[in-house]
Symmetry: C2
Subunit: 166 residues, 2 copies
């Protein structure tokens, strides 16, 4: 390896290392580097922007390079994809290292998360509100629906921008 990362990035990367080791999958240089790029970003980042940044050090990266790597990171719950933006953010739920119970046959390895996307500064807040997840589960249940993966995203104005910008 040998890439220059900030402390917070290194912390999340070492956590990712632990996750991957526990799952028996390999966090290769490429995957670590892409995860680093995502963690370093202030705002959600598109696949092709990640590809451009990746090419600074990996000259021959192509679209499949970045998409396969993103698939890996998504499958292992290390990043999230924001559907409204077609962009990616790191999963920060590991900051609270309470592990997920992992029943077999569950095709959703990541935790359920919700996102607040500021339309002004473009930053994203990841929340993990059990009441919200429960409300969706209950509504689905009333409709006789067996729940798989869920997408909860809201666009709006974050507290900082609300205070700053009039």
């Amino acid at each position: 390896m040998g890439f220059e990362f900030a402390p917070r990035t290194l912390s999340l990367l070492s956590h990712a290392e632990t996750i991957c080791a526990g799952r028996g999958v390999r966090l290769t240089d490429l995957r670590r580097q892409v995860l680093g790029l995502i963690v370093q970003s202030e705002a959600p980042t598109g696949a092709y922007e990640l590809l451009d940044r990746l090419r600074a050090t990996r000259h021959n990266a192509a679209p499949p390079t970045i998409y396969r790597t993103l698939d890996f990171l998504l499958e292992n719950g290390l990043v999230h994809r924001l559907e409204r933006l077609a962009a990616f953010v790191p999963c920060i739920a590991h900051d609270h290292p309470r592990e997920q119970a992992h029943e077999p046959g569950c095709e959703n390895p990541g935790h359920a998360a919700q996102f607040l996307i500021c339309r002004r500064c473009k930053r994203v807040v990841e929340i993990a509100d059990p009441a919200l997840a429960d409300a969706l589960a209950e509504a689905a249940g009333r409709a006789g629906f067996t729940l798989g993966q869920t997408t909860i995203e809201a666009e709006g104005i974050c507290a900082a921008c609300d205070a700053a910008g009039k």
Copy 2:
């Protein structure tokens, strides 16, 4: 006009006519026809599939034709876009013709809705659960976030498929 539509389609279309009249916008032949195509579909429909179907009667339709029309239908709350599928479904909330309170400056003319997407039959159930919307509003409020448009979509297995397919 003069297109052949089923009764349910005609009902939603006439309702759309009312909505547009109330808002002072024009439900043209093109817009009515595209809305009809969406309402007739059993499952969410992509923009390019709608374009193909539209070309059966409107030979010179091009991508901007369908996207501009979809923008109109979205802005006026007549259809929804499913982010996970990049596909469109009719808005059926008008079946309960309780009108939305419409404060000025609100950039979200449509109602907040939630969607359950069956991965087996590809059909979609639109729900409008106030408890769910409230839970999201409350979680956003706790984060100091001013809420705009929201996206709540879940993938899973619908009741019919769960009963039928073992």
